[in-house]
Subunit: 391 residues, 2 copies
């Protein structure tokens, strides 16, 4: 047995895929701290600190703001299954893999989703959302702020105005934007918002930050039926994380340590400075890619700073290039998801990964590989374009 | 901000509550290893190793054996919501907080539970289970092997025979037994079994080992309705953890590292040796407690080796004693849960915590505190009783 399962020795990777991104050393260090009881007064203090830190990062004053004990997908499910009960109508903006999944979950909750379809790789058409809202009595409007599968950003502020007009709750997926791109939960009128830890927060995957406005919590309290999931039942989570500290489940202590440290790092850097860093490195990366003759799927005004969707040039072997990046340079990037499989590379610049060094190294490695694969690329053009951005 | 949220510095505790238990240093070290991508070939190899290790610890050859990306409560929910669909009958043995919760979840799944009630702190009456099974067409019989809330063990093997006679699937909660007490999933005819990582496996909380027999998987595949949870949908989890490695969610990488290392430690020690260690330390603890005049709630033959339910002597202030243990000795023990609140201390000896040193220290600390609280305890009697056990 001991021979079969050796000591763990994972490689050092540069994680430029759609997530996880690289984890800050201080966060890894926090994970190795001694585990204490989940009802220890010291841990309860830590929980309350994490809630406060999360409020600052979400830019909200919502009381119900905490990390769910599951990954980002659990955050999506918690948001939908608490907000929607059997028979509830919901307008769901679908222009990517993750918004498509929202519709699936809404149906599993017994909801009646009206789908506003959008082209993958582009922002959703706000006019379509408006007419869908007029044709339904939607309790919830759901949209993904930053679509991890396409690299496109959706116009959350505009959709918020429409939702408010119709009195619907606005539910927003910010898995690939929280901590990397401007997001103001209260100012933008978002009622329900969830994210993941392993993208722009620079923390390992495992928890899902979530926030519900008072209006959204009231809707949860006024449900006619029990939430179908006990594990994700917000009423129970509220009494566990809240003043009562009533047992609901055992929080993942080490992951909570990690989230606390990651949030501390975000606020030490400052939200605005952090967003600027993500924007700058994204701009440089795109300049380099375009100088190499590559294209970005979303249009200029609808691109994420955190995830870059690069159209794979014709004749290039998707998997081979990604494997060479991994094996020769220990750089991970992602392939396409769903209908975009084989058509896209997804290059993440999130959290600790978003750095000038990573931009330079990646472009240089990609240039070398594409040249050796026979693509006609002007050597050095990317590097020159990047320098112009950084100045 | 930096002043408000200082660097994390949790105290070193001796975790003798109902969980989490102390984490082995090698497991903490594994958590601080570099995070890699969840679709990295190296990580997929680690996933398959974890599945193999888990099979050994569950003593099963079930293909579907993996850790769910949530805590033990998520394991309970995944087990029930995949096995039970609306209208399904289920016999649920309820003699504690956690089995009571099973009934709640079964209802949330649209199931029709028949409750077999048992006294808290004692094993369930097998005859009652038999007659309940005769009166229903149960698809599932659910029982908690080791009730964390009462310290009592249920007769899983006997219930298994009854379930098999009626063709029902046997679903067993082993949160507080896996890795600490004998449990043979295949030999005992268990179809569905789940656990947690933070008890006898000596790992931080955050994942839920689970296993489904081929018969149980067939029932899942033959469902008429979708599983209500996408996050916990076993069909999807199967293609993610299985040969296809199809994206479902992002596994909590660092927690998977921790689980792997914890399972490696279990098998290095050897299952039988580990069970013996848990039995010996439990026997010594009970001998010491009884020598001090304290009583254990469950009868001699129905006691867990992993969690000891100690009846709080009359006139003693529950919270005060627990606080003094924590503040003066950094020892955590648990209070009672549900109807046993204020009546019980729950003293865990699980995983890395189950050691001779911890038994001695705890008894000595408790003796000192109880004496100073005015209880008439013969000094040294516990120590003498314990020595007789260890020999």
């Amino acid at each position: 047995m001991q021979e079969q399962f050796l000591e763990l020795d994972p490689p050092e990777r540069i994680l430029m895929g759609p997530g996880p991104s690289n984890v800050h050393p201080r966060v890894l260090k926090a994970m190795s701290l001694p585990v204490i009881g989940h009802l220890d007064p010291c841990f309860i203090g830590i929980m309350h600190e994490v809630m406060d830190l999360l409020k600052s990062v979400f830019q909200t004053s919502n009381d119900f703001t905490l990390p769910i004990s599951g990954t980002g997908s659990a955050g999506m499910e918690a948001s939908l299954c608490n907000a929607i009960e059997p028979g509830d109508e919901a307008v769901i903006c679908v222009n990517g893999f993750f918004s498509d999944r929202m519709a699936d979950i809404a149906e599993r909750c017994g909801g009646r989703p009206t789908i506003v379809e959008g082209e993958w790789g582009h922002a959703i058409d706000v006019n379509k959302v408006e007419s869908a809202l007029k044709q339904t009595k939607a309790k919830v409007v759901a949209v993904v702020h930053a679509e991890t599968s396409t690299g496109a950003m959706n116009p959350v502020k505009e959709i918020s105005e429409l939702a408010q007009k119709q009195g619907a709750l606005l539910l927003v997926d910010t898995v690939t934007s929280l901590g990397g791109m401007p997001l103001k939960v209260d100012e933008w009128g978002i009622d329900i918002c969830y994210s993941g830890t392993q993208k722009c927060l620079g923390c390992p995957p495992g928890m899902a930050p979530i926030t519900f406005s008072e209006r959204a919590m009231e809707a949860v309290r006024n449900r006619k039926t029990k939430v179908q999931s006990l594990y994700l039942d917000l009423g129970l989570l509220d009494t566990y994380w809240g003043e009562k500290s009533a047992y609901h489940h055992t929080a993942p202590i080490s992951m909570v340590y990690a989230v606390r440290e990651a949030l501390r790092l975000v606020l030490e850097e400052g939200l605005e400075a952090r967003f600027k860093r993500h924007q700058l490195n994204h701009t440089a990366l795109v300049a380099g890619l375009e100088a190499m003759g590559l294209n970005i799927l979303p249009g200029k005004d609808e691109r994420l700073w955190t995830l870059n969707a690069v159209v794979i040039p014709e004749g290039v072997d998707d998997a081979k290039v990604r494997n060479r990046l991994l094996e020769e340079y220990s750089i991970e990037i992602g392939g396409g998801l769903g209908v975009l499989k084989g058509k896209l590379w997804r290059v993440g610049l999130m959290g600790y990964t978003s750095s000038r060094s990573n931009v330079l190294l990646f472009l240089s490695a990609l240039e070398t590989i594409l040249c050796s694969e026979g693509l006609n690329i002007e050597r050095g053009a990317a590097s020159q374009a990047v320098s112009a951005v950084y100045g």
